[in-house]
Symmetry: D2
Subunit: 343 residues, 4 copies
């Protein structure tokens, strides 16, 4: 007998987007216990609709991965198996085609550690985030490889070199999920009007807090204030596997002055999102995806790329707003108190 | 106008716990789109009730933190300010007492980077996870310090050296949230019966996948298979700020053979959880906390420590079950397919 | 007017090596102020000559890299430039051929961060470690690209995504320098005789100290006791740029019991070494290389691969010996004191 | 029979220093195979002597550490042992006093991972870098603890949580070695004259290359161009254990415009250096230390703090010069070629 956790949800925006993937103004849903997130993202959204072009989103890359682990007697056997597996790449692709209409094997990475061989398979997975599709393909690939390489033994269907729901460096360097950059240029006047700050103050805060502060904390491939908050809200509201905010929240906020105005961007190298698959059949999810126009029939992958852009733009809005608040002493708690009084 | 995201939720267990903080058998709620998580955690729970003592939980430490950022003209001024601030620690504690009935300042850490001074305040916060309590205290502390140290300037109310909702090293090294270890010893026979594996296979997989695989992936202070999944489910079902799974999911799984049996433990150095505060007033959250007996009047902090133990034990159950599955070729997807057919 | 720092140097060994790259027994030179390193490495060497096959070395990969940085107006322009640059890869290879007889461009990686484009060029460089060869090639490549892509501007000839003399994750994941695995299987009896320990004790120590301990310390892609010591000694004695021990010392020690015996390996994913280039003309360097047979005329790259294997085997000897000592209470300092008394 | 590796060595400078620890102009020795380092550091030195105050050095902290590892039956036993050990801190201090005239125990940190207990002892060690002093003290501390805590067993005299000669996060967060900040303010005119660049260009390069580039590469607590080069040269020339450049090279370069001028600083949180101990008795080392006035009789620790400042200032000079060169297309290789032609 299953029930439901009822997470408070609201649409914020509209957020204005541009770029080759998606254009126009969209309201986006955020589900969260931390409801001050709504007005905060809303403030960023308001900036976006008042800037020429709004938030420009670029999808740099997309792929989904699964790493498997084999045991060899020694490194030299592991290496020669690896060389033959790589030479047999076209056959591996054919093997994968048999497992799913959407999964396509596009690349193969590896690590040899002592006598262990890690293979990291990279797939495209249509509009699904692709966790299960990749696991299934990886399973069949393992069988295929084990059969042809009797020197190898099964180690694990997942070798943690994937890397799923862990904060690591591999995903950003080799790619996993949607790699999205969202950018906006905000005139100095709008910065003051909507964000109560200046480009110079934001640039300085971003350098000191996000880049230097995170570095001192021992962060890995990460320099931002609170990507995790927006990702959680967006993931829950759109039926994503929200445990993927762990790696999703690793990303970079950049701010620089350009002729007195503010260039502001968020780089999210590994957003794991999809518009089909687990969670997407729930009624509120369907409604939310529909309201953002993501239920339309498009080429496979296109809806999920649009979703990734909407997600990245939402992250930008919330990041911009919080950073702006933190440039001014006392503003953060004052805003919290104001919001809590209202509720 | 706010609505709700409806996340499928189920109680799993009972899980059997022991140790100085909490004893007995408890059912625990998990909210997730990834419903195969329920039977998986259930399998681990079944092991726990069949082992003497079940899962023993130890709370090693607890505290909540906020780092603030000051700007000095140079490092030498930053250092002398720091030295005077430290010497004035008792006064800082008094300042904090005025901000909340529960917040107590217990320690102060620092970093000097060029001319920047980062202070990291550590508090106890009763049964609340303490985000806002700490921010509020930090704000008052900043005012107090800025008034007495005219050589310092406001940098940021959060300097990312806290570190909230980011995967870094600082939280595990200096402490943040509840530091919990959950341990179980599983007789070899039960390992085979319930987990379809052997201690030796689990030990080897943990070494190769969790420790070596994560290390190769460039993980930071992390070696586990999927803490994030259980944390997300538990956090959503108990009204926690689930964005804190980002750092919560950094932790260590250990497995070793002891006289043929399996010693298995999970170490979660920074669980951010509470039984009061944002999200805890929602009806389903109240009911869930009540069902675990966490609505009783106890000494401040005791309910949240019990919650942390229940959370850690749940993580152990899910981690144990997935690892066991991955020791056997083909088992993971077979289980997924079986579950999906049932639904 | 230049003089010399006189670093104490000694040949240790012989070390016994096997594998496709190099076979036989070799004495290896180590220059160091920490002279207890010599008897320690010697102990490991003694084990190697008493084991069938000695230390088997496998060169998994080799390449040298340089990353350059371009500035674009925005991410979308950066992406389209990147796509065209990749499509033009053959032309880039031709450009590189003109810069050196040995440098060959073999691959290209990239990162887009906001409006920044990082390109990471990978080269083979014959027997040279290749720092300057790559910088020179990168410079010409930048000129070529800037001329053809007026939307891009010069950012930096090195963008720190290379990554040279820094401990990062990128080198192990994408490759840089020689990727070498050195392995040995030590009968239990020899373990006791020469190392005064047992396979079980070494396996446990390696797990707890190198894997878990380094993880807790917040290490990145590293799990070993003291690779840095052997690398420094070997690099100084063979004319290498010893600042490359920074990334060279990131690597993995593995130990496992196999039918009662000890399997022990070191994985060094990014050894930056060469037999020609800066430092190699100094007389003591020439003599040392000659004594290891590395002055012979071989195919380009072969001498440096042999050198890399000798280096990895030396690392294995020292790592094995120190770990063995640390399995026993009191042994480490006793050995130090004994050695210091002798001197 | 021991010989010597002859590493080319030269004095560069003078470098001008100020601050509470050391003042005046000093020539500093650098031993390296990469001789273009000399003119590069010299350029930075020339800037220092032309700036008011030269390079201001601040020693933020100093301590040396060793972590030991105990095994307990479970986490709860480990925790209660830890609590009693901490309560017994004064006795531990007395124990250490018996081991050396200079070693003083000043602090104790810990980690509990499953059933493992890591203790990290922090000492002051006078003018020695203190490796052996700490190991010896740790050995005696272990004996003392094992005798009083029969529930604990010996794990390792070093648990890698120290952390020696590895790039980790723990040293910067908890402290190890000398924590030094070196700062300079360079008038815009001197920037152009000596460095052929502008403050704005240097600030931008530092942000993009050192902070963003290193972050993308998966660096840990590090953002600099080439600290490792200067550290190696300085360590070899002054008899330091140069394998400590591994962690020494983790540090932060900061650059910002201040009223048109350039503020430039290097933060080196864990320089392991000393003026007595291994390597310091070699003749060339004695001469080099003497030429920097570090052979004088001063309070214990003072000579080594002066040495640390000289080291940090040297790092600043080389870092400044290389970054300046990289702001201009083509300058780096042109300089290299010019230098090589001269030689």
């Amino acid at each position: 007998m299953s029930e439901f956790a009822q997470i408070p949800m609201q649409f914020v925006g509209p957020v204005k987007l541009s770029g080759p993937v998606i254009n126009g103004e969209y309201e986006v849903p955020l589900a969260t216990f931390e409801t001050p997130l709504w007005p905060s993202v809303n403030r960023g959204a308001r900036v976006s609709v008042n800037c020429d072009g709004g938030i420009m989103c670029t999808v740099v890359d997309e792929r989904m991965t699964r790493s498997v682990l084999f045991e060899a007697p020694d490194a030299s056997v592991a290496l020669s198996a690896l060389q033959r597996i790589k030479a047999d790449f076209a056959a591996l692709q054919t093997v994968v085609e048999g497992t799913s209409r959407f999964a396509k094997l596009i690349n193969l990475n590896s690590q040899i550690a002592g006598n262990l061989l890690f293979l990291r398979f990279e797939f495209t997975t249509g509009d699904a985030s692709g966790h299960n599709m990749c696991t299934q393909a990886a399973e069949v690939l393992m069988d295929y490889i084990l059969e042809r390489h009797p020197t190898l033994q099964y180690g694990s269907i997942s070798g943690n070199y994937c890397s799923d729901k862990k904060a690591t460096a591999v995903n950003g360097i080799l790619g996993r999920g949607k790699y999205v950059v969202a950018e906006i240029t905000i005139p100095e006047k709008l910065c003051r009007r909507y964000l109560k700050t200046t480009p110079a103050k934001l640039v300085q805060l971003n350098l000191r807090k996000n880049l230097i502060g995170t570095m001192l904390a021992g962060g890995v491939r990460s320099a931002n204030a609170h990507f995790a908050n927006m990702l959680l809200g967006f993931y829950l509201a759109t039926g994503q596997d929200a445990a993927n905010i762990v790696e999703g929240s690793q990303g970079l906020t950049m701010a620089e002055e350009r002729a007195g105005d503010l260039y502001f961007s968020v780089t999210l190298p590994h957003l794991i999102v999809g518009t089909v698959g687990n969670g997407k059949d729930l009624r509120f999810v369907c409604e939310n995806l529909e309201r953002m126009g993501l239920n339309e029939n498009r080429d496979p992958g296109e809806n999920s790329r649009r979703l990734a852009c909407l997600c990245a733009a939402t992250v930008l809005c919330g990041e911009l707003s919080l950073l702006a608040a933190q440039t001014n002493p006392g503003e953060l708690m004052a805003a919290h108190r104001r919001i809590e009084r209202k509720q």
